[in-house]
Structures are given as structure tokens and as C-alpha cells.
């Protein structure tokens, strides 16, 4: 009976196990092998040892440019996302009339498909007829060319990232609901004002959620692709050539799949490294209320 149950169990989970093995584990391992090969799809992979990694680190200025771009984006967009996410969650935690409408309004942009959001922002940031520059003109400021400017293209994408903050806001909101009311009552009894309650109760109690969003946000930022692909194609002058975009170009525009695999592994190691550092740092600032 137990054996039959086991068998039934294996049969039921087999689609997932086979799917993971074929579509995740195999490509994962194959990409590791390919990262040591020269591979262009047409001809069989040829082993070149560490050549791809050597080329990347010593002979490809665009690799460093793409890495710098993605760090720039991650360093600005992730904290900004946290600040706006937490701020919005705090505002939307208030017991006011129609709060669910506000929550829905702020959440909606995060479920709009990325390509649609990108096209929308291309219009908003249009230097001539875009809403942003029209508003700036009303204020007497001649706005920049945004996505067409090497100085403003990355900041434009960072600002745009705040538009999709609704998803993390919802998680912060759930985190806020999880904070025991007794802590606020105790703080009030101790004479804490609103700011002190936020600073010494809310934020520390919210740190596990902030930590989660920080880790997920950083992983997402390192893989930033679609918006840049749709809106700028990496330009102007490679100013929005993000790591994943450069990886894609190397693989499918220049047919260097071995090199692209090596880039993917460097990204993987980077993401694992940064995540490990964050996990090590959490002892100092994440409070689990234990």
C-alpha cells in the first residue's frame, strides 16, 4: 500500500520534476559548460577554457560599461523603491474612507505589462510633446531630452521604476498589519509621538519585509532588461546598456552564446555574492521580534 502510495506520489509530481530537470536544471548546467566554450549555435561548442572570462574582464569595455550601468540603476532604484514603497504603505494604512480605492489605484500600475508601461513612459518623457516637459514648461523650465540624453536616460529609467512600486507596497502593507497593536499602545503610554512610533516601532518591526524586498529588488535590478530593450535599445551612447541587455545582444545579435553564458555566470555569482552580503548584514539591522 505504502509503495503504491509512493508510486502515485511520484507520478503526480513527475510533471514538475521532469519540467524542472529539462527546462531549468539542464539549461543551468549546460550554460556553465558553454561558458567555457566558443558557441555560435551553428557549429558545435568548442572548448576554449577561461577565454570568455578573460576576454570579458580584460578586453571588453562594454562589459564594464554594462556592469557600471546596472550598478548605477540598482543603487538608485532599489532604495528609491523601498522609500516610496514604505512611504506609500504607511499612508495607505490609515483608516480613512475609500482607502481600498487608493490602495487599488497605487497597486494597479504594478500589474500593467512592462512593455505597455514602457511605451506609456516613452510618451510621458517625450521631450517635445511629453507630459513631463509640458509641466516643466509651465514652471518655466526647459526640460531635457530625457531618454535621448546621455545624462538623463538612466535617471529617467530610475524614476520610472517607482511607477511599479505597488507590488512591494502591498507586501509592506501586509507587514504593517502584522505589527502587534500592543507595541504602539506601549509606545503611546511611554509618550512617543507619531514620528517616534514610526521610527522606533514601525520601521524596526518592518525590517524583515524591507529585507525581503531589498533582496528581491536587487536581484530584479541586476536582471533589468525589458524597459531598456523597448525604450532605448541600450542607447544613447550605451548609457542604458544594462548587463542583461548586453548579454542578450552578445547571444542573439553577435551569436556569441558561449560568451553570453559566461556573462550570465558572472551575473549569477555577483547576485549570489551581493545576496550573501545582505544576509550577513541582516543580523545588524533586521529585527524578527524574537
Amino acid at each position: 500500500m505504502a509503495r503504491r502510495n509512493n508510486l502515485a506520489g511520484w507520478v503526480l509530481v513527475s510533471p514538475v520534476v521532469i519540467g524542472l530537470a529539462v527546462f531549468t536544471l539542464y539549461p543551468f548546467l549546460a550554460s556553465l559548460y558553454l561558458s567555457f566554450c566558443q558557441y555560435d549555435i551553428f557549429t558545435p561548442p568548442r572548448w576554449v577554457g577561461l577565454w570568455n572570462y578573460e576576454t570579458m574582464l580584460t578586453r571588453d569595455p562594454l562589459f564594464w560599461k554594462a556592469l557600471a550601468n546596472v550598478f548605477y540603476y540598482a543603487v538608485l532604484a532599489v532604495p528609491l523603491g523601498i522609500i516610496f514603497g514604505v512611504g506609500l504603505a504607511l499612508l495607505l494604512d490609515s483608516p480613512i474612507r475609500g482607502i481600498s480605492i487608493y490602495r487599488t489605484a497605487f497597486f494597479l500600475p504594478s500589474i500593467v505589462p512592462v512593455v505597455a508601461t514602457s511605451v506609456l513612459w516613452m510618451w510621458l518623457l517625450n521631450p517635445q510633446i511629453g507630459l513631463v516637459n509640458m509641466l516643466l514648461r509651465v514652471a518655466g523650465v526647459d526640460g531635457p531630452t530625457w531618454l535621448a540624453s546621455t545624462a538623463w536616460s538612466k535617471p529617467s529609467l530610475v524614476v520610472m521604476s517607482v511607477w511599479g512600486v505597488g507590488g512591494s507596497m502591498l507586501i509592506y502593507l501586509a507587514g504593517l498589519k502584522d505589527i502587534p497593536v500592543s507595541l504602539y499602545e506601549a509606545a503611546v503610554v511611554d509618550g512617543a509621538n507619531l514620528w517616534q512610533r514610526v521610527r522606533y516601532v514601525t520601521l524596526p518591526m518592518l525590517t524583515p519585509v524591507i529585507f525581503f524586498n531589498l533582496v528581491m529588488g536587487l536581484i530584479g535590478a541586476f536582471q533589468y532588461f525589458t524597459q531598456a530593450y523597448v525604450m532605448t535599445g541600450g542607447g544613447p551612447l550605451d548609457s542604458t546598456l544594462f548587463y542583461a541587455l548586453q548579454l542578450f545582444f552578445q547571444a542573439f545579435r553577435y551569436l556569441k552564446l558561449g560568451y553570453a553564458s559566461a556573462m550570465a555566470w558572472v551575473l549569477f555569482v555577483l547576485v549570489v555574492g551581493v545576496t550573501a552580503l545582505l544576509f550577513r548584514s541582516q543580523k545588524r539591522w533586521v529585527h524578527y521580534g524574537r
Binding site: 566558443q38 555560435d40 549555435i41 551553428f42 557549429t43 568548442r46 572548448w47 576554449v48 577554457g49 577565454w51 570568455n52 576576454t55 578586453r59 571588453d60 569595455p61 562594454l62 517625450n126 521631450p127 517635445q128 510633446i129 531630452t145 535621448a148 540624453s149 546621455t150 542607447g235 544613447p236 551612447l237 550605451d238 542573439f252 545579435r253 553577435y254 551569436l255
Partner: protein, 457 residues
């Protein structure tokens, strides 16, 4: 009371759940029905007894209809092969995958510059090996220089064009008259072009651009007129920093700087898209603009009343006349194709090597530039040019030996991206034209060396 209400609510909830389920089931049923009844499989063979030639192309809508007509004509012309056309969007990537999987099409149309990259990887069939040497010699002699150049790589011929693209200047006679220029005498030198452009620019009181006289873009389109080139065929090497290329980029940059490149970008950002009927030249945003021959048919279709003319790129002092840059659509046979003779028979038929009149008919259906002078001189093609006189500028340029194509290096896509980068760096004043070209040269050379050294490992 509460219990009763709960009962009512749960009954309503159950009904709602069933309603949702019903919608899903109905949607699934419609989907399955569509799969069985409505789904149109790729066209089956009309002549089941014949050898099938699978033909992938990238054309859609009206263009796909032209392709279908050409295939039908081929199929009706003989009784051995049947070409089965299929529109494949994102063709080059899918061809890569199908080639890697060992099942590529027999013939495919391309417009991305893939010949050197794919030929270097032995993924294409040299077409000169599919015909007798004398036929190849004959064909080689007949093709326009640019058509021959675009198909060649390391001494073999891999791609036969079905239609080339040439760029020339479109201009508005009414704008010329408005500023006192004679539209019957289009500038013959670059200096005259600059002077005309300066007159044609229009600004508002605050200095914002209202109309662009002319702003040159795309260095590779202009360098040939200066006598420049990006490729030395004798030494088989890239020549980014050819002094004439630098001179051309200095002129392109100088013209943009005169009107403030940022201001030009701002003006252009507010214009309609470049697609067909919304091309800003129609609305008068440009007095002169460099564009391809396909606009002639588009203008006839979307703006038949528009008064416009075309002219070749005027050269600078000591430069070359009827110079420019060309790319195009071409047919290739993947190395793993199952029916290469059938594919080549189809290509011969389409390009009219045995009957230029027939090819001329096809070329006029597509509004394509011909690949040989024989086709250009046929009655159907001349009638087409009489119908669209503006087309003759492109035809004259097409035959010119001063038209260049992208250098035949296996990193063409990278080359293109770096040329664009160099031009933009210079336009934005981040590097001088010479520095920008030097850096692009270094990077492209490194990419080439990486490819070769990696291969040698």
C-alpha cells in the same frame, strides 16, 4: 435569521463559482473548437507529387501577397518543384534555431546583414557551387556592383538579392520656391546643399525649430560621396579612420552642431513616426531628407497630391557623384537545406537570370530596385519608372560603382553598432570625429581578433 442569510449568501456564492467555471469551460471549448476548425495550418502542397521547396520569408500583409504570387508563378512554370512560402517573423533567430536543430528551410529571404557571419560559420551554401562556372561568370558580370558585393564573402557568392535599397534626397519644391531657391536646379555640390539647407530652416520667435532644412545622418551613407570607405578590399581590412571618412563625419557633426544637436533631437521627438503615411516629410517638417526608394510608392499611396522630387547625394569638392550606401533583401540557401537544387531553381526564376522581363514584373510588384541592368532596361520596368519618375534617381544610383555596402566581415552587426556609436559620440561632442572613429576601429578590430583567437584555441 443569520443562518438563513448565510444560507442565501452561500447559495449565491456557489452560483457565482459555477458561473465563473461555466465561463472558463466555454472559453476552453471555444479554444479547442478553434484549434480543430478555425486554425489554418501552413498551406499544404498544391502539387503533392512534386519536390517540396520550403521557403521562409519575413514579409507580411500586402508584401506577403506579392511573394505568394511569385511562388505561384514559379510553381506554374515547371512540374518538378513546388515552393511553399511561409512568413516567419524574427526569421534570422528562427533560422539559427532550425539550422542548429538540423531542419532549416530550403530557401530563405533575409534583410539583416547575416551573410559574412553565417558564411564564416559554414551555415550557408555558396550559390556559385550550385551553377556551372560559365553561368556564375555570366551572372557575376551582370549583377550591379553593390548587388555582387553584398552577396560575396571570401571569394564565394552566398546571397542573391531580390531588391536593393538606395538612399537619395527627397525635397519639397514649394519650400524651395518659398525661400527663393529654384527647385529645377537642385544643389550639385555639398556646399550648395548646405547653403540651401540654411535657407530652408525655419524657427519661431523663441528660436525653436519649426522646419528642418536638412540635417545629415548616418555616416556610412555619406562617406562614399567624400571618397571614403570602411573597407580596403586589397588588404582585406577595415578602414574606419580613412581621412575621407573623418572628413565626412566632421561635416555631419558640423551641420548638426550649427543647429544644436539637442534642439534638433527635441524637434524630431515631437514629430509623427517614420512609418508610411505618418512620415514627417509629408507634413512638411523637413524640406529635404535622405531616405530610401520605398518612400516613392508610399507617397503615391498615402499622399498622391504631394509635390516632391528626388535627387542623388551631391558630392563635396573632389568627391564622387552618384555615391551612397546600399543594403537589401536577399535569398540564401542554408547549408543544411534538403532541396538545394529546387531552392536555386526558384532563385534563378525570381531574379530573372533567364528572363529579365519576368523579373521586371516581379520587381515592379514589390517596388524593388533591380539587380541587373537587363532588368532595369525592360519595358515593364521602364513603364514603372515612367509612372513614378522620382524612382529614376534611385535607379541611376543603383548602377553606380560608387555605391558601397557594409564591409564583408563576420562581425557586421558589431561594426554597425560601433559606427552608430562613433557618429553619436561625435554628434554629442563627447569625442572629436577622428577620436570617435579611432575608438570604433579599435573596438571592432578587437571584436574581430577575439573571434579569430577564440577560434584558434
Amino acid at each position: 435569521m443569520d443562518g438563513e442569510r448565510f444560507e442565501v449568501r452561500s447559495r449565491a456564492a456557489r452560483q457565482a463559482v459555477w458561473a465563473v467555471r461555466g465561463i472558463f469551460i466555454a472559453a476552453a471549448a471555444v479554444g479547442i473548437l478553434w484549434l480543430f476548425l478555425g486554425y489554418r495550418a501552413p498551406r499544404p502542397q498544391v502539387y503533392p507529387g512534386r519536390e517540396k521547396v520550403v521557403f521562409w520569408h519575413m514579409w507580411t500583409s500586402n508584401w506577403a501577397e506579392v511573394i505568394r504570387k511569385i511562388c505561384d508563378r514559379f510553381n506554374a512554370s515547371q512540374d518538378r518543384y513546388e515552393v511553399v512560402p511561409l512568413t516567419v517573423i524574427g526569421g534570422s533567430l528562427k533560422t539559427l534555431i532550425s539550422t542548429a536543430g538540423g531542419d532549416p528551410p530550403d530557401c530563405m529571404a533575409q534583410w539583416e546583414q547575416v551573410i559574412p557571419a553565417w558564411a564564416e560559420r559554414e551555415a550557408l551554401t555558396p550559390l556559385d557551387t550550385l551553377m556551372p562556372p560559365e553561368e556564375w561568370q555570366d551572372l557575376r558580370g551582370r549583377l550591379y556592383p553593390a548587388v555582387r558585393a553584398i552577396g560575396m564573402y571570401k571569394g564565394h557568392f552566398y546571397g542573391l538579392s531580390t531588391g536593393m535599397n538606395i538612399w537619395a534626397i527627397y525635397y519639397r519644391p514649394s519650400h524651395f520656391r518659398e525661400v527663393g531657391l529654384d527647385p529645377d536646379h537642385f544643389p550639385e555640390t555639398l556646399d550648395e546643399l548646405d547653403a540651401a539647407a540654411d535657407k530652408l530652416f525655419k524657427f519661431d520667435a523663441a528660436g525653436h525649430i519649426l522646419r528642418i532644412g536638412f540635417i545629415p545622418r548616418h555616416l556610412e551613407w555619406w562617406a562614399p560621396a567624400f571618397g571614403g570607405s570602411f573597407w580596403d578590399p586589397a588588404r582585406e581590412e577595415l578602414t574606419f579612420t580613412n581621412p575621407k571618412n573623418v572628413e565626412a563625419l566632421e561635416w555631419v557633426t558640423g551641420r548638426a552642431a550649427k543647429y544644436d544637436f539637442e534642439r534638433v533631437l527635441q524637434f524630431e521627438a515631437g514629430l509623427t513616426t517614420q512609418f508610411e503615411a505618418s512620415w514627417p516629410f509629408i507634413s512638411g517638417a523637413y524640406s529635404m531628407v535622405l531616405d530610401g526608394q520605398w518612400r516613392v510608392e508610399q507617397l503615391a499611396k498615402y499622399a498622391p497630391e504631394l509635390d516632391y522630387r528626388t535627387a542623388p547625394i551631391p558630392p563635396p569638392d573632389g568627391g564622387k557623384t552618384l555615391a551612397g550606401w546600399s543594403n537589401g533583401n536577399f535569398l540564401v540557401i542554408p547549408a543544411g537545406a534538403k532541396n538545394k537544387p529546387g531552392a536555386w531553381a526558384f532563385m534563378r526564376f525570381w531574379s530573372g537570370l533567364d528572363d529579365p522581363e519576368r523579373a521586371a514584373e516581379f520587381y515592379t510588384w514589390g517596388g524593388w530596385l533591380p539587380i541587373t541592368d537587363q532588368i532595369a532596361r525592360t519595358a515593364p520596368y521602364q513603364q514603372y519608372c515612367d509612372k513614378y519618375p522620382q524612382f529614376r534617381t534611385f535607379l541611376r544610383t543603383m548602377a553606380s560603382p560608387n555605391v558601397q555596402v557594409t564591409p564583408p566581415v563576420p562581425v557586421q552587426a558589431y561594426f554597425q553598432s560601433r559606427i552608430g556609436w562613433a557618429e553619436e559620440s561625435a554628434l554629442r561632442g563627447q569625442l572629436s570625429p577622428r577620436e570617435a572613429l579611432e575608438q570604433a576601429a579599435r573596438e571592432t578590430q578587437r571584436e574581430l581578433e577575439n573571434m579569430v583567437v577564440g577560434k584558434a584555441r
